[in-house]
Symmetry: C2
Subunit: 774 residues, 2 copies
Amino acid sequence: MDDRGDIETSDVGGVLERNGSSFYEDKELVGAREPLLRKVTTNNTSQIAIVGANLCPIESLDYEIVENDLFKQDWRSRKKTQIFQYIALKWTLALLIGLATGLVGFFNNLAVENIAGFKLLLTSNFMLEQRFFEAFVVFAGCNLILAAGAALLCAYVAPSAAGSGIPEVKAYLNGVDAPSILAPSTLFVKIFGSIGGVSAGFVLGKEGPMVHTGSCIAFLLGQGGSRKYRLTCTWLRYFKNDRDRRDLITCGAAAGVAAAFRAPVGGVLFALEEAASWWRSALLWRTFFTTAVVAVVLRALIEFCRGGKCGLFGEGGLIMFDLSSSVATYSAPDLIAVIVLGVLGGLLGSLYNFFLDKILRSYSVINEKGAPFKIILTITISLLTSCCAYGLPWLAKCTPCPANIREECPTIGRSGNFKNFQCPPGHYNDLASLFLNTNDDAIRNLFSKGTYDEFYISTLFVFFGAVYFLGLVTYGIAVPSGLFIPVILAGATYGRIVGTLLGPITDLDTGLFALLGAASFLGGTMRMTVSVCVILLELTNDLLMLPLVMLVLLISKTVADSFNKGVYDQIVKMKGLPYMEAHAEPYMRNLVAGDVVSGPLITFSGVEKVGSIVHALRLTGHHAFPVVNEPPFSDAPELCGLVLRSHLLVLLKRKRFTRERVATGVIEVLRRFDAFDFAKAGAGKGVKLEDLDIQEEEMDMYVDLHPITNTSPYTVVETMSLAKAAVLFRELGLRHLCVVPKTPGRPPVAGILTRHDFMPEHILGLFPRVKSND
Amino acid sequence: MDDRGDIETSDVGGVLERNGSSFYEDKELVGAREPLLRKVTTNNTSQIAIVGANLCPIESLDYEIVENDLFKQDWRSRKKTQIFQYIALKWTLALLIGLATGLVGFFNNLAVENIAGFKLLLTSNFMLEQRFFEAFVVFAGCNLILAAGAALLCAYVAPSAAGSGIPEVKAYLNGVDAPSILAPSTLFVKIFGSIGGVSAGFVLGKEGPMVHTGSCIAFLLGQGGSRKYRLTCTWLRYFKNDRDRRDLITCGAAAGVAAAFRAPVGGVLFALEEAASWWRSALLWRTFFTTAVVAVVLRALIEFCRGGKCGLFGEGGLIMFDLSSSVATYSAPDLIAVIVLGVLGGLLGSLYNFFLDKILRSYSVINEKGAPFKIILTITISLLTSCCAYGLPWLAKCTPCPANIREECPTIGRSGNFKNFQCPPGHYNDLASLFLNTNDDAIRNLFSKGTYDEFYISTLFVFFGAVYFLGLVTYGIAVPSGLFIPVILAGATYGRIVGTLLGPITDLDTGLFALLGAASFLGGTMRMTVSVCVILLELTNDLLMLPLVMLVLLISKTVADSFNKGVYDQIVKMKGLPYMEAHAEPYMRNLVAGDVVSGPLITFSGVEKVGSIVHALRLTGHHAFPVVNEPPFSDAPELCGLVLRSHLLVLLKRKRFTRERVATGVIEVLRRFDAFDFAKAGAGKGVKLEDLDIQEEEMDMYVDLHPITNTSPYTVVETMSLAKAAVLFRELGLRHLCVVPKTPGRPPVAGILTRHDFMPEHILGLFPRVKSND
């Protein structure tokens, strides 16, 4: 099986438990350095920590399996069945994630189409009776109620459910676990808040929230449910390690995109290009499986809903905006148009990112004042959106329905291409067709082919301005809000404007121009290439446009990259998440690892006094401590390894202390602990310092740390270039990196590098001049 | 720009120059350990090697830039324009690779269709005149001449051009540079040999060779041409480092797939999933650009050839096997059929790999005997193929042409669905329609929709057997041969068999069954998932089949993976290329780094005697030597860094020696050497040991190694688990990994790990018991 790759996990670990708290800033030196009574064997991995891994095959290499001869046989016999169990579980989980995300995606779709459809139906009924004011009240009222509901959920139940969620998922997959970002409450709010937000007619999408939802589902399933809500599943405890969790969440993110766009391959590529920081072939395969399941679920449910069985749920198949039958022949002038679109998309996209950053910073001032302010802001934006959507169409002229079309015109009471609005029968209001519709239907209208004359150019300009502006002001409010749909809407609109302007000299359909416009704006804001390209292909089923879409994406990304960063990177940075970039910054080459470690360092002896450990744990928030063996019990002071805070807490909780300074050894610990005791607990579930109840007399007793010490930590010499240390840290996905001195005879460990030590804020704080140099 | 990521290159380096020769097997201890006259600053990256990197911004971090204050300003001012130049060059090269590969791909296509078309035309003319024996002689003769021509090229000009080339490219991208695998002669033979091989009617494809061709083009362009053939370009010397070369070759491989299948997204995914060992986001984008260029070039040329301007070059658009208009509605029984196909594909695929391995091993016995034997083997297989292709159709019955079809029937003189062969007018021979056609057309026939009755089931069985067998025996001959087409042919055939058998109970078209069959067999042999899926989508333009294709691929890969490895991995292993897997083997966890390093070690002092260096270079083939500073000139013996053989040779060639043991320092070296002197030379172009002309009296002089020493090598402690060392080595793409002792006071470096030390053969040789344990 190809899955062997997953079992030899690297020590890619390092999910910070709480943002910020694992920063290794030593305030005081604890660490009694007294002799050990028994020398622990060196040059052997056999005296290893039992942690998590010895009873199940999913150990992180940082905490290796017990390989004492005593336990070898036992472990081996258990291994076979457990590997099988593990692989079966992994695929079962992928299947479950796919099923659940597919169901949620469909449910979201169904709910939105029914709620928004009902709202629009009601409004248009009033319009038909010429009761325009009542129509507005109904329209704005429905929007307001839905928006307020979503905002209430977001503000009071799960504040972290607001926004897109993609930046947080991206940061999680980079190793940053922001508080409660994947909690069950977030999942709940994300699902229902997103339905409320989209139904409320905001200029926002369900794509980001779906990615977040998929990730939450994956986290919940991987954790074996939530203990807090009494939904647990003990057989999933195999997955209580960072690496497997991260793999599951990658699958969840891919499933989210697949469910939102009905684009399975696009989902995989999105996870690869935008979400994941580490990638393996085996993961590609599993992600692919998950999104295939999503596609099958969606297809089956859409089949089931055919013929109006699901209320106002639309017809349509798996392809959301089918453009396939349009013939794409293009010539030189079209290429010039494409280049223009690309440059325009790049400029507008980077401008969008710039404004979004400013607006988010202003909003955060309001949002920080408390939940009521969040709700007021949301309500304000909702009213603004309603006014735009209902007010602006009055500016548009009524157009007679075109002859020879298969579609109903004007469409009454349902979303469609031709909205009647205030117009007499047989006429339609083209601006209302865009505004008084769900966002999906507006995009469908913009993408529609063979409808060159459907929209006036003035209409498109008004709609573009409104959507660009509303998209910007909507993102920061306390509602789950995706960025894809506003970006596609605005992009498709200006694409159609360009198409309309160039109509006389081009053979390309205006619908295809709208597609290219959407691609260019996506490239300009998101800065994704292959995944956006494939998502658009899967959305429109138009493979022949591929070269043009690729071209426009490349141009817009290049243009936009020369101004600022992608929108998700920007939000990650703004949220202060310590995201490790894939490459080292230039100024890091001027520094060495020893320059950025802060001391003094707290170290433990191999057999340490309980009091010292408790003291150190109480004083600092550090997540790892070096363990040092000293002469005369080792030849020289030597670094034995690293011990994790969480493991220390588990060890101390069980109170197996000795009065004498003796090494009790691995066997003793194995007898008393189950490996799963040391497995990584779910968020907020591990043993806490307050849970310890150490008596005064126990403080003077000793505990042997060797069994729980990781004896093979990755190390760098203190004269190692910081850039190279950063590459090592990032590529291996470490959480702690030991810095050892170059010259022997000094203490055997000079410090520990954590993620925060590589952050520009930290380094530039230490070396202010560095900034001016680069 | 996103490209900053490329400038902070990691020391991902390590392309072995000659397979095997860099294995660090020390025979003798050289290394005089005498005091230095000047202590070199420690704890500072500033006393660094100037190597390659200081004058251009593309330095490998292993060889960092000079950061002495003297040079800082100078370097900084140069940096800006050079970074711009570098980025511009990178994109220009991607463009050129795309253009060149697109042109070569089209030329290949054009040549094959004309040559093979002419051959088939000639044959069918004789057939029409009932001169069956002459027809056979012409058919077999043409095949023989083409095959012999290709074999002659392969056997005498470039033996490494035989076979697919994908395994070699995969190994190169993993860091293994097999001799002459990307040489210009290989490129030449690959292009023309592939045309000959495909035209000769062998059951082989042009896809693997196109990947290899694309890689060769990328290598040639990145090298700035070939000095041997006097095609050089000095302005490309920026790219004389491993990392940029590897990036270019990744682009080339993707361009090859894009050109072969006209599948740009598939090409990117192929490079990602199968070819590349290290992947970065920036690379995704560049690869994407390259394949987009290929698509545009191909499309433009195909447009140009419309209307018979290019001889027998077919009509067809960018989509090779268009299935788009077929309606894909499928129900439960179809899903069962899909599962059956998946299992079947997995079984047949793993069996194919098994037999291929056996056949390649037997062939290698023949091929090793010399070029004439290679040619005889090729001729034998060519005759066998001709006999099958011409003989087997006689077994088939003549079928009356179906009424109501738009196509010509029987088709005379050109490739088509309905071959006349020996049949009377108005009839066609269905087996001949498959055999006496180009492979592309045979696939097109198998994929054709709405042709349920076209092929008898007996015909399909005969064809399947013949293609499966011929595909196996053809691969090892001395002709550039891709595996995709034989696999698609055989897969499509049994897919169609299943479709025909299930015809009464399924709604799915037999053409779609053929597609699913091809997918299942591809999954079973190649073990790729997403890339095969996208390639098939781009080949057939049928997005609605996506869920079924995904399902069938997943099943067949799972089934096949339980038997053996993918075909390319198998060939890599069989060729003895030291490929580093992405994960560590289980037994590596039982070992530590110190267990596998072989000693004694040759080290140099910071200022070393010329004689010792020459002696060490002469005695060993090692590519790197540790440099050690010793007391009293450093506090204790300490590892100063690593020095590369190639840099030592450059240093010795210039003969800047001193009579005294003094450190001349960086400035001296900077004055005398251009950074490009140390840049990595192209294959076979660097300074060789024989080029040195050291006089006897110079042997006793000294040379300062500090300026060319990499002072920040990655190190591991000797007690580090071998599995973790392997992860470090692989993830960072290292070439040498220093092993340092755990306890100070011993020599400061215990050994050097190279790629070969992680190979199972080496480790299992050291520890035979390990194998039995795992």
